[in-house]
């Protein structure tokens, strides 16, 4: 399951990031890395972009990028 499939207001844990190295590094400097818990807090009208919240910040991602982030739902 990847982040692009997650419904609004759902909390998930990141399992693995399969993005190309440079994007992976960027995600990490924004605080997105394996093991982190994130919540999908907004999805734009045509499902183009999504807003996730993690810890103390919010990040906007395009669906293409979200597809490279493997997650698991928190029970």
């Amino acid at each position: 399951m990847n982040l692009s499939h997650i419904e609004k207001n759902t909390k998930v844990r990141i399992k693995e990031i399969k993005s190309p190295a440079i994007l992976k590094k960027r995600l990490q400097s924004l605080g997105i890395s394996a093991g982190k818990e994130v919540e999908v807090s907004e999805i734009s009208l045509q499902k183009n972009t999504l807003k996730i919240s993690l810890g103390f910040s919010f990040i906007a991602l395009r669906m293409n990028e979200a597809q490279t982030i493997e997650v698991e739902e928190l029970s």
Binding site: K25, R26, L30, K51, S53, F56, A60
Partner: protein, 699 residues
């Protein structure tokens, strides 16, 4: 007096500029980095006989080269001359900010960490133990608040203290296996009594293990490298095996992240979270699926309404003041030629540009509010899907909005885009975002041809249709000239914050001063030039040939004949001759030669368009001078279809020479500059042609 240069570094939105402002007691200046045209803000203050200069570097998330603007900061940190790094951290977002700090520590410079926004962290129930943090990292960590000025003194003292003492290497701890390997390399160097200036052996060991090229270059020259090599090989082997990866960058990232995460847990405790909810609540509305975009459009509409309505009264005062000045000054000058130069050339030319200062200030205020409150990234979020369809990127929004102010910083702002293709495409579109300097033309024409209560809407429509045309152009360019891979869209959405009124004022003020300076120098010269070439040669034979006719004419025909004579005289001046030569190009658009000349002179700077029109129409105007404002003269002498065609042409054609030069520099290839010139002129001409021909059917 001693001088200390401080590099102010931090992730975006941590309040760096605000802190620089607080440290220096609002002594900010804008300069440029040597070699590159990126604005750099410098703040300076003196304390204990030492002058301290702070260089406010563009924010960056990490030291990798993700985008061109981050590279500016990185290059400065690696090659620039400075004494110490002041790393600003947002206390409410400690862990993520520390990721950068860890990378900065590796640079081995004197460093201080300022834990900014302490007041906000308090409110959010976040407690950071700065003393413990200092103990772990062995570099000063000081809690400050640029808003409440808390601990600003302590930070100033710490700067002096750190600068006066020997550098203390920052301490990073890695996982046991890495530490063991580092220890092996360090003890080897110690045994050999190896000592590099200003660098600990541990630092060398880390550099070697992390395969940093400069470190290798340095150590390679040492005779002991032969013995060192097998130890290194061995160490790397162990590290790879342990990390399960042969990519050293990945190992470093993991190690740094683990250190940062551990450090955060050690020094930070959280009681309750509040303000995040406020941001979430505002976002529920502002980036709402259905409401988000309408709200944005409404806000933009409001801004242009304000630009017109609020700006109207001061604009009238300024225009009135200049008319009065013209009369007063005119009355004191005997010599006709000098009087004309000063009144019709300088006062009218400069005055017609200065009177738009209130509008410009409102527009810049709006843009800087958009930039500083955190709303900008929301709009990027909302528009990314839409922009993406047109080949643009959500982040393109930022340079595009900056383009409403001025194209020059907008071309530079395009550096936030990583891909060359996205950058170039965005830069091509920036010209469609009508810059502040074109605003006078639109305000003038909207005021002249539409009712007062409609003028604000017209202004809004002009800007929106420019932007829409830009999007269409983007689509066309992205499927023809700029094909290629998409850039990922990953962007922080910072918390909503009340911007510091001081910083907002500073931004509006410095831009207004720039506008005034331009009016006082460049526009002044241009007005004088335009006046000269539109007044000479005098061709007194025309006057002579008309004199008997006017003498003989009936009273009611006199006025018409005099006008005819003035027109003839204007047409035979240097400018008239130039205008007549280029007129055929613009005739299909309904421009007379005066408008054609204004279009060309607008290439120097868009403000020159109104000053040219001002000079040209006031010199040869048909109505008596004292009862007519430029607006009235224009509404009488230009037809409606011509006016619309003129607006459209000005909306699209090439930004000024200065902006084009910056474009050429940023695009790094003259080929693109030629494309830009041809592309903008051709589009402008075609659209103006269509508009004029269509409207002529009805009017």
């Amino acid at each position: 007096m001693k001088k200390i240069v401080i590099a102010l570094v931090g992730q975006p939105n941590v309040g760096k500029s605000h802190l620089a402002n607080a440290l220096s007691g609002s002594n900010l200046k804008i300069g440029n980095f040597a070699g590159v045209t990126v604005e750099k803000a410098i703040a300076s203050f003196s304390k204990d006989d030492t002058e301290i200069e702070i260089i406010d570097l563009p924010g960056l998330y990490s030291l990798e080269d993700f985008s061109a603007d981050e590279k500016v900061t990185k290059d400065f940190l690696l090659k620039g001359e400075y004494d110490l790094i002041l790393n600003v951290i947002d206390s409410t977002n400690l862990e993520r900010n520390l990721n950068l700090s860890v990378e900065l520590m590796e640079l081995d410079k004197k460093m201080i960490i300022a834990l900014n926004m302490d007041d906000e962290a308090h409110k959010e129930g976040i407690e950071i133990d700065a003393t413990y943090m200092r103990k772990i990292l062995s570099i000063p960590c000081i809690k400050v608040s640029s808003k409440t000025k808390y601990n600003i003194d302590a930070l100033q003292e710490s700067i002096l203290h750190v600068n006066a003492h020997e550098p203390v290497a920052a301490k990073l701890f890695y996982s046991d296996i890495i530490e063991t390997e580092l220890e092996k390399i360090t003890s080897f160097l110690d045994e050999k009594h190896f000592k590099a200036p200003n660098m600990s052996n541990r630092h060398i060991a880390i550099g070697l293990l992390w395969q940093r090229k400069p470190m290798y270059a340095m150590m390679h020259e040492q005779p002991l490298f032969i013995e060192l090599q097998p130890i290194l090989n061995n160490a790397l082997g162990h590290v790879y095996m342990y990390a399960g990866s042969e990519d050293i960058e990945e190992v470093i990232n993991k190690e740094n992240a683990a250190f940062v995460s551990g450090l955060t847990t050690d020094v930070m405790s959280v009681k309750a979270q509040k303000s995040k909810n406020l941001t979430q609540a505002i976002d529920k509305l502002l980036i709402h699926k259905l409401l988000g975009i309408p709200i944005f459009v409404f806000l933009m509409w409001g801004l242009f309404q304000l630009t017109f309505t609020l700006g109207q009264a001061p604009m009238d005062w300024i225009e009135g003041a200049f008319q009065w000045l013209g009369e007063i000054v005119g009355a004191t000058i005997e010599n006709e030629a000098i009087k004309s130069l000063i009144v019709d050339g300088i006062i009218v030319g400069v005055g017609s540009v200065l009177m738009f200062l209130p509008n410009i200030m409102i527009l810049f205020l709006g843009i800087s509010l958009l930039e500083t409150t955190g709303y900008m990234s929301r709009v990027a979020f909302l528009l990314d899907g839409f922009f993406h369809k047109f080949g643009l990127h959500g982040k393109s929004f930022i340079p595009l909005v900056t383009g409403f102010g001025c194209s020059v910083p907008a071309y530079m702002a395009a550096r936030t885009l990583k891909n060359k293709k996205d950058r170039l495409l965005t830069m091509f579109i920036i010209g469609f975002m009508s810059c502040g300097a074109r605003l006078p033309v639109f305000v003038l024409f909207a005021g002249a041809f539409f009712d007062e209560d409609m003028a604000g809407n017209v202004l809004f429509i002009i800007y929106i249709s420019g932007a829409l045309l830009g999007l269409i152009a983007g689509k066309i360019l992205s499927v023809t000239a700029f094909k290629g891979e998409d850039e990922p869209f990953v962007m922080e959405m910072p918390k909503y914050r009340f911007p510091s009124p001081r910083l907002i004022w500073f931004s509006v003020y410095s831009k207004s001063i720039m506008y005034l300076k331009k009016a006082g120098t460049f526009i002044l010269m241009a007005s004088m030039l335009i006046w000269f070439i539109s007044s000479y040669p005098k061709n007194s034979f025309i006057e002579e040939s008309y004199a008997p006719q006017i003498e003989a004419a009936l009273d009611e025909e006199k006025g018409a004949l005099e006008n005819e004579m003035r027109e003839k005289m204007m047409e035979n001046t240097y400018l008239g001759i130039i205008g007549k030569t280029i007129e055929p190009i613009f005739t299909p658009l309904g421009f007379d030669w005066k408008m054609s000349v204004a279009t060309i002179s607008g290439l120097a700077a868009k403000e020159v368009i109104v000053s040219t029109l001002g000079v040209l129409y006031s010199l040869g105007d048909e109505v008596s001078e004292d009862d007519a404002s430029l607006k009235e003269i224009i509404s009488k002498s230009i037809s409606f279809p011509s006016a619309i065609a003129f607006i459209i042409f000005v909306m699209i054609y090439l930004p000024c020479i200065a902006a084009t030069a910056v474009f050429a520099k940023e695009a790094e290839n003259y080929k693109y500059t030629i494309y830009l010139v041809v592309f903008t002129f051709a589009t402008a001409w075609i659209f103006a042609f269509i508009a004029y021909q269509t409207l002529s059917l009805f009017y």
